[in-house]
């Protein structure tokens, strides 16, 4: 008790979280002291957002302990965290889009109620906005859905820093600047420094490395659910960080032989801002860059431009492998078999009647080919583990006759062994003349491509081909890109 060392606001020790076979956190320990800003970096899927959810109380770890001010907290949850002044700005925007700014403030601050709460909420949020983003021009009675993405992000950040009864003590910012331009980001980071100087704590997650280096007092690097490096900010350089984040074992072994595709015809094309997109027959084209910078939109556009909404097509031009399984991949009520065959029913039917034997046989072949781990393809799709569900979606697309396969980060949750098998299949199919357009957040995968387009802010900012497809080049283009 007489200890003069300040105690950590939140101290998580040896935390483990897994989603199915994916070990999102594999023994992470992290203590946040008052008056420090911890920078958290790592590749997509490293586990950053997951540790945030643990600290925020939204996710109970499967293993590990959580201490607050040095004391073990038995029932740590959202309300316990909030009572300790823990606030969070989530990576995906999490305001209610149908409510106004000050109504969202009301939702966030549970104790703001009572007569005249609007006035108080208005004061709370406007004071915070004014201090953080002077001249922001956001009226607090605007509907959040009407705001631009940047304005929404500003509101969320300002809301996290606002004081609606319980003063904020630890603020977690998960990629807060991803939609802010340079000057707004500057304003925000300056406020973070002021907040930290006055004794508050911040966890800052960002892919923009110089922000981290200039703002954080300590930088933690995560990789595959573990903390792999941790040093004071002054001890880091941007290159050092990129190296620490990158894969230790490079994917060289899997690099495919460089093929000459100069003669091959262009099979898909999409011209927008930035560098035009083209893919040739038999080519594997990678879409890289930070998550959410327009890669999925590009895939959707490619799909829509050749899709048919009214009449069935015998020979589909493209097929699609979803990454967001829940949203646009899996048919939950169906068996694995039906999920597999839905895109190639035309080939498995005569006069519109599905040939059940052919369907079972085709499914059997693919079950073997990519090892879908189930005793029976007639089992429900949801009985499969996530990785196996993803394999089914893969098989669904590959089993069609479409010459172009669009892939939306399709390896989420797929284990290493399977990945290697799928890579091999992709290589074979490409050799037979199939074209793959592959968006991936995994560097290793991007490096498997013949050619790579790097995206930033909705446009293609770089094109890398052959030997130029390296992790360093891709990271460099995605971080530096063309500044806004």
């Amino acid at each position: 008790m007489t200890d003069r060392m300040p105690k950590a606001i939140i101290d998580v020790a040896d935390v483990k979280v897994s989603f199915g076979a994916v070990k999102a956190l594999d023994g992470v320990s992290l203590a946040i002291m008052p008056g420090e800003c911890v920078g958290l970096v790592g590749h997509n899927g490293a586990g950053k957002s997951t540790i945030v959810s643990v600290i925020n109380g939204g996710l109970s770890p499967h293993q590990g302990t959580i201490l607050g001010e040095g004391e073990l907290i038995a029932r740590f949850g959202i309300n316990a965290a909030r009572a300790r002044g823990v606030r969070c700005v989530f990576q995906e925007l999490s305001l209610c889009p149908n409510l106004t700014v000050l109504e969202n403030t009301r939702i966030l601050h549970r104790h703001l109620g009572g007569l005249g709460w609007r006035k108080r909420a208005k004061q709370v949020i406007e004071r915070s906005l004014d201090t953080m983003f002077p001249g922001h021009g956001i009226a607090s009675d605007r509907i959040v859905g009407d705001l631009s993405i940047a304005e929404r992000q500003m509101v969320e950040i300002a809301m996290a820093f606002s004081d609606g009864g319980i003063p904020p003590r630890l603020i977690i910012l998960d990629e807060p600047t991803s939609s802010l331009d340079a000057s707004l980001a500057e304003q925000m980071l300056a406020h973070v420094l002021r907040f930290v100087a006055s004794g508050g704590s911040v966890i800052l997650i960002s892919h923009i490395l110089h922000e981290i280096i200039t703002t954080a007092s300590r930088i933690v690097v995560m990789k595959d659910g573990r903390i792999v490096a941790e040093r004071p900010a002054e001890a880091w350089t941007e290159n050092g960080l990129v190296e620490a984040m990158g894969s230790v074992v490079k994917g060289e072994a899997h690099r495919r032989a460089i093929r000459d595709l100069a003669e091959a015809p262009v099979v898909v094309e999409q011209i927008g801002h930035g560098i035009p997109f083209r893919a040739k027959r038999g080519e594997i084209v990678g879409l890289a860059g930070l998550a959410g910078h327009g890669q999925t939109d590009m895939l959707m556009k490619l799909h829509a431009s050749s899709g048919a909404d009214w009449l069935p097509r015998r020979d589909p031009a493209v097929t699609f492998v979803a990454g967001d399984r829940r949203l646009n991949g899996v048919f939950e009520l169906w068996s694995i078999l039906k999920n597999f065959s839905v895109a190639s029913l035309g080939d498995l039917a005569s006069r519109g009647v599905v040939n059940a034997d052919a369907e079972v046989q085709r499914a059997g072949e693919w079950k073997q080919r990519i090892e879908i781990r189930t005793p029976n393809m007639a089992n429900r799709m949801l009985s499969l583990s996530g990785g196996n569900q993803q394999k089914v979606l893969f098989a669904r697309a590959l089993a069609t006759r479409a010459p172009v396969v669009l892939m939306d980060d399709p390896m989420r949750g797929v284990d290493v062994g399977t990945k290697q098998e799928v890579y091999e299949i992709i290589r074979q199919e490409a050799a037979h003349g199939r074209t793959f357009v592959w968006y991936s957040t995994e560097m290793e995968e991007v490096c498997l491509c013949d050619r790579v387009y790097v995206f930033r802010e909705g446009a293609i900012v770089a094109e890398l081909a052959g030997d130029a497809v390296t992790e360093e080049n891709i990271l460099a283009s995605s971080f530096t890109g063309v500044a806004a």
Partner: protein, 316 residues
Amino acid sequence: MRMVDRISRAPWIWSWFAAFLVWFATIMVTGGASTLGLSQAALTFAAFSIIVGIGQMFVITLGPGNIDLSVPATMTLAGTVALKLMDVDNAMILPGLITAILIGIAVGITNYALIKALRIPPIIATLSMSFIVQSAAIWTNRGLRIKPPSFLADFTTSTTLGVPNVSLVALVISVIAWFLLEKTIYGRWISAIGQSTPAARMAGIPVDGIRFITYVFCAVLASLAGYLLACFSGGAALNMGTEYLLMSIAVVVLGGTAVAGGDSNVPGIWGASLFMFLVVSMLNTYGLGAGFRLIMTGLIIISVIMLAGGRQPGAR
């Protein structure tokens, strides 16, 4: 044991179970003497609910928000126009049938045009449409009850080997519907659309085309039911579809079809249609009035949905 387990989880079992209970409770009043009569009557009248219910089921299978409220008006228009056209002449049976079907097609096309082109939610689009169709029915013959051609009248009211002919028609339609749903690409596609429209689009399914066909199919079945019902009851009446609005929805829901879409169930429609007829008969037989009858019906619908359970979390 596994068999029992599997059957008890089949979504249609509840409606069959309920239908059986009610049937049993009714025939017990006469010590079993009414068995044949009641069964025949139930099969006869369930047939019409089955036919419209199957159409409604296809639409509901398309997913949340999809529903066709124009079913009753379509029945009425098809019945009145066809009977007027046939004008008691046996030679006109086929033209009458074709006219009824064409009316169904026209209503279905207009329904989907309103939904797609004007972005009107299906519930309101088909309601508005039903007013227009109902007016058209009034305008065509002002409520005169023209008798059906004698052949049709006999056919619809008689039995074959003790089974009512209309229920045989319903059986044929059910088998076709079951075949469409279970065996054909079309069936797979509507189920896919109902489970997740974005996923269906990404899987290359022609979503708009299929939705369009489905609304047309529903309207055609409604017009067919109208044609048969008008012949069966000795003439079309302007209000003959009225009770089939809630009925068509209720038999679908009770039959175990998922209201959230994607999962349809033909046997369940039979169970539910028989049940809906039998429960009224039972309550009438026991001398219960309209009030109790309605309350019981509502409570049973809610119990069935509670027992069968909602969809797994995440879907609504």
